[in-house]
Amino acid sequence: MSVLTTPAGIAADAADVLRRRPGADIAGAVFRWLLIGATVFATGFLGVLLAVMIVDGWDVLSGNLWYFLTNGFSQRSAAESGVSQGIIGSLQVALVTGVFAVPIGVATAIYLVEYAQDSRFARIVELNIRNLAGVPSIVYGLLGLAVFVQTIDRFTKGASVIAGGMTLAALVLPIIVITSVEALKAVPDSLREAAYGVGATKWEVLSRQVLPAALSTILTGTVLALARALGEAAPLILVGAATGFLSFGDANMFETFTGPYTALPVQIFNFARLPGADWGVNAAAASVVILVLVLAVNGLAIYLRNRFEKQW
């Protein structure tokens, strides 16, 4: 190659680059396949996980799945035990979680996006949310045990569905705030300005324009957060879900919220702790149930979000 570049010289170099076939680039090909391998490993283990759980739990899943889903825990044998208490308990806990976490989380997001003008308080709230998001889930269990089970036991009646739900509400609160903030920030200012322009008050702008526009994204964020709560076991162990069992007895639906309870992931943990292969079958079968549940809820939320993602 000459020092003086001429159009002919550049063309010759370019042709030389183009002539190098991709196949000749061995390092590049190796690197590319390593990356593909890593990606397959990172995402493929979900398939392996599902397959292993289905195989291990096949005795229950193929034979008496309905019995397994509709019957409670039996200390006598694994074959007589089911996960109905866990499923109902998980749904009840998720309900309480939603009741506490969604209003507070969405309202906090509204405050941060629509009201706070970089005040000191707003900065404290933001920093606080970011830090809360990284607190290990079992630490929330300590909060639940000390505050929700012991300090305000007059309201929660001790280790109850309400205490468990409030604990998980604290856990998913930062997730709901963060996704709602993103959703509100995505609403363009022109929408707000147009509403102000025709004389709406701040609250009317929010309730009639901004919130409806952000609603679908906020909803999917909420669903993702509740799915996270559905799979959590560690904090619930500290607030009594491991030793309690939902009693069907003569309690009405309302009373079960203040009684002993358990949750599906905690039941899986209990199955896994019991010695003997037949309890292992139950653990695997219950794992399939929770995986299907959590993946379905999540998949739906992610699908809806991608579907209704607005392009402003």
């Binding site: 990284g134 300590l142 943990f269 999540n298």
Partner: protein, 312 residues
């Protein structure tokens, strides 16, 4: 009607809306601010409960009990080094699994993958992040140890730190991949184009240009992933630290409890533990330790991510 003569003068009061509309708009502002205050209250309650009970423990425990043959809380032996070493071993194993495959998947998705592949893989990673950790714990004892590790190690314990570490690693992959991918995509296209314009191959561009430019983001991904691995509870409780006691042991083929699994074990017997020497308070002491460690790591990761965001 005369337009010019008898038009009343328009005052500021006319432009304002009715008193009730303004009042409502003003009231809701305080509701939103109140919700934001609740999120700060959650943090304050966590810190207060954990710190005060941990202080009770620190001030009462005989300090020489903190270094002993192992962690036997109910016998008054609280060897912290046992739990800390096990936590470190399991977290490092988890990072050895999660960092290569997480980074590999991130580089593939950001640099190589066809947009259509990317569009499928990103939500898949999100879906993976929602797999409940109890399920991975069951996976560790029902598949990783018996079907894989026993082929390599003859004398491996049924409960062992290696399998627990691998399973925690699988759990952390999506988190690491997602942060790493974000930081790779934050590298401006101009850098890649300049590199390609100089005739660099894609592999050279990826390794010599894009990776160094995203280095701080990759570091942040590693730190946040490490913090998540330290805080993971259920996998370790099921696969390695089942019992509430553990003897100091450096072998990763043996069982051993971590900060988190020791907390879960103490929590399982909360009713018995309460009032029993210092075991109950040690639960909060471990929580305080865990909270402090993860908080420092998360803040470090956060600072690095922020600095990266400001660079480009």
């Amino acid at each position: 009607m005369s337009l010019t003569q008898d038009r009343p003068e328009l005052t500021a009061a006319d432009l304002q809306t009715s008193r009730s509309r303004r009042a409502r708009s003003h009231t809701v502002r305080w509701l939103f601010m109140g919700a934001a205050a609740v999120t700060v209250l959650v943090s304050a309650l966590i810190i207060w409960t954990v710190a005060s009970e941990a202080w009770t423990y620190i001030s009462q425990v005989e300090l020489d009990k903190l270094t002993d043959i192992g962690w036997f809380p109910r016998r008054g032996l609280f060897d912290l080094s046992t739990l800390l070493v096990n936590t470190l071993q399991i977290s490092v194993i988890a990072m050895l699994v999660a960092v290569p495959s997480g980074f590999g998947a991130a580089i593939y998705l950001s640099e190589y993958a066809h947009p259509r592949v990317r569009k499928v893989m990103k939500p898949t990673l999100e879906l993976l992040a929602s797999v409940p950790s109890v399920v991975l714990g069951v996976f560790a004892i029902s598949f990783i140890t018996p079907s894989i590790l026993t082929n390599f190690f003859d004398d491996i314990n049924y409960f062992n730190k290696l399998a627990a570490g691998i399973a925690v690693g699988l759990l952390v992959i999506p988190l690491i991949a997602s942060i790493a991918e974000d930081s790779l995509r934050a590298v401006p296209l101009a850098l890649r184009e300049a590199s390609a314009g100089l005739g660099a191959r894609k592999v050279t561009t990826s390794i010599r240009v894009v990776l160094p430019a995203a280095l701080s983001g990759l570091m942040a991904a590693t730190i946040v992933g490490f913090s998540r691995a330290i805080g993971e509870t259920m996998v370790v409780t099921i696969a390695s630290g089942g019992g509430d006691t553990s003897l100091f042991n450096l072998s990763i083929l043996e069982s051993g409890g971590t900060l988190t699994s020791a907390m879960a074990a103490l929590g399982l017997g909360t009713d018995q533990v309460a009032g029993n020497n210092l075991a109950f308070q040690s639960l909060y002491f471990l929580g305080a330790l865990l909270f402090a460690i993860t908080l420092v790591l998360n803040m470090l990761g956060d600072v690095i991510v922020r600095r990266l965001r400001n660079r480009y």
